[in-house]
Amino acid sequence: MTMMEGILLTIVTAATPLLFAAIGELVAERAGVLNLGVEGMMAIGAVCGFAATAVTGMPLVGVLVAMIGGMLAAGLFGIVALFFVANQNATGVALTLFGLGLSGLIGDRFVGMPGIPVPRVDIPVLTDLPIVGRLVFGQDPFVYLAIALTIGTWWFLFKTRGGLVLRAVGDNHGSAHALGFSVIRTRFLAVLFGGLCAGLGGAYLSLVYTPQWTPMMTAGRGWIALALVVFASWLPGRLVIGALLFGGVSILQLHAQAIGIGIPSQFLSMLPYIVTVIALVIISRNRTLLSVNTPACLGRAFVPDS
């Protein structure tokens, strides 16, 4: 494997958890809900995935439990923010805190345990092709799942009636309600999907990326995912680009160090975050463009008048 292949492979691996979390959040935000609790949901997913795998010995069970854990956490957010109509920003922060703390509690007895590795896909001829071989045909199953989810989401949002309803709810919940669509139920389902994806993203971290559990292992990825959704202007295709970009910067800064570029490591470590800020500025600069793409009712409370 050449260095180029190696770098591309690690970038894809780094981008995958971000893509999972971001695609789920994209759906939630398209429905008008800003869920800042992605970090907490990812942590719950990571700990549930690892714990279930450690107890049953089957990574598949771990993945399923992680998805359920993420959904439960999202459900908690949904009840407080959608049914009790609490401020979505505050509720999201509460979920992050609660999720991080709870994951630490649950994971306490699993710290220091080796994980069961998930095998990589290996198609006889295709995987051995130069450059594209491992990159396209030799990844672990999660990567393909993430891409499938992204494509599926795009198709759902823009090619199905259900997706149209969801986007309508996010753009104008008053009209959607008048037309008879249940705003709260649609949003709740969207939030649950967000939790499912965040749970998958977390499970990827604790089952594949570094097969172990450590507290705080999500390391801010949930927040990056939130930024990626804005960066992608709420379009699934652009989300993939954003995830690769961010994953790329964080990997390349390590390579830069290894090569021996004289810049202090702290400044290199800052790069992913500075790049995110710059990307946000560029995307948001054009007010018209931004408002065209932003779901108009994002973060706004909705109470049906009855």
Partner: protein, 356 residues
């Protein structure tokens, strides 16, 4: 005169009763950890030591610990809390606890304090440290023997003297086998960040290294090595269960014997504030079993280890030349402890610049 004697006798009896009562209460020995007690790395190493105290002295000593204590004012409060709750001896196990320990020790002159890897002491505050660099030298020799590329990757946290000592000792060991051996260094700015450590390992492997070593605490780099069919060294803990085919050996922190010795000293009243810097021969660190290695390399490693333990070999024996070419010690000399404790230069042969 008789009244005076009577008072003296009464006082003696009272003193005897008091010490008798003290001996009946168990001594409380307490630990402060910077990370989780079961982190599979540095803090767990200290906790293993605590468990050894419990096992060997359990009838006379009870132990307790506080974990995940951030360095700074929170540390001072945690240590003070332990002092107030009746601990007779407190071990603060991270360098960043140094100033907080000094402050609390001043407030509680009757409690004994011990600080790991630091340099400030007091009549009731001792310091203790481990010559990790001895293990690094052995690892360097193994790396030079086993590496086909002549290049190792080194994943490190922060440029403090202990870490720089490790890098230099590793290089000196490697150079004793292969004078042209090279190392690439990546700073992850954290003692424990598995994902970043894994990414660093991948980057180093992609850049041509075929062996990695680390001064960070998670087994993630070794897991990457195992996945790629490459090898490396574990840190603070035998990480063989995480990477059965990849680990050559590991530096295992074995603080237990030291802790037992010091707690015993408190029990029999001989505890004094000392500055201990023990090494392989004192058992404060061990090398994990040499695995995945051919027999001749194992034999070489064992011989080096024996030489270090007997004093025949010092990893920092002269000639030691700095990166900029100046000679620190000539042949026949040894870099002294004081220089080592404040080490902030690389040896010749390392191409990177130290980030200071």
């Amino acid at each position: 005169m008789r009244r005076y004697l009577a008072i003296l006798a009464a006082a003696a009896v009272a003193a005897g009763v008091a010490t008798g009562a003290e001996a009946a209460d168990k001594l409380k020995a307490c630990w402060v950890y910077v990370g989780p007690h079961n982190d599979g790395g540095y803090s767990e190493g200290h906790d293993r030591g605590r468990l050894m105290v419990e096992k060997e002295l359990g009838d006379k000593v009870e132990t307790s610990f506080v974990e995940n204590v951030p360095e700074g004012p929170d540390a001072e409060r945690a240590i003070e809390r332990l002092a107030r709750s009746g601990c007779g001896i407190i071990f603060s196990t991270s360098f960043g606890f140094m100033d907080p320990t000094v402050k609390v020790a001043a407030k509680f002159p009757d409690v004994k304090f011990e600080h790991a890897t630091g340099y400030k002491s007091a009549p009731n505050l001792a310091t203790y440290n481990s010559r990790f660099y001895e293990g690094r030298y052995i690892q360097g020799q193994i790396a030079a023997k086993m590496s086909k590329a002549g290049l190792a990757g080194y994943i490190v946290s922060f440029p403090i003297p202990e870490v720089v000592m490790g890098i230099d000792a590793f290089m000196l060991g490697a150079q004793s086998v292969n004078p042209d051996f090279k190392v690439k260094i990546v700073w992850v700015n954290s003692w424990f960040d598995p994902a970043k450590e894994a990414d660093a390992a991948k980057a180093l492997f992609d850049q041509g290294a075929d062996i990695i070593t680390q001064h960070t605490d998670s087994p993630a780099p070794l897991q990457v090595a195992q996945e790629r069919g490459l090898h490396g060294f574990g840190q603070a803990h035998d990480m063989i269960s995480f990477a059965p085919k990849a680990q050559y050996t590991a530096i295992v922190d074995t603080w237990g014997p030291y802790y037992v010795k010091r707690v015993n000293a408190v029990l029999d009243g001989t505890w004094k504030s000392e500055q201990t810097w023990d090494g392989l021969k004192d058992g404060i660190l061990e090398m994990a079993p040499y695995t995945n290695l051919p027999d001749d390399v194992v034999a070489m490693a064992k011989k080096t280890q024996a030489d270090i333990e007997s004093g025949a070999l010092h990893p920092f024996k002269g000639p030691v030349i700095k990166q900029d070419g100046t000679e620190v010690v000539p042949a026949g000399g040894v870099v002294d402890d004081k220089t080592l404790l404040g080490l902030n230069w690389y040896v010749k042969g390392i191409d990177d610049k130290l980030p200071n």
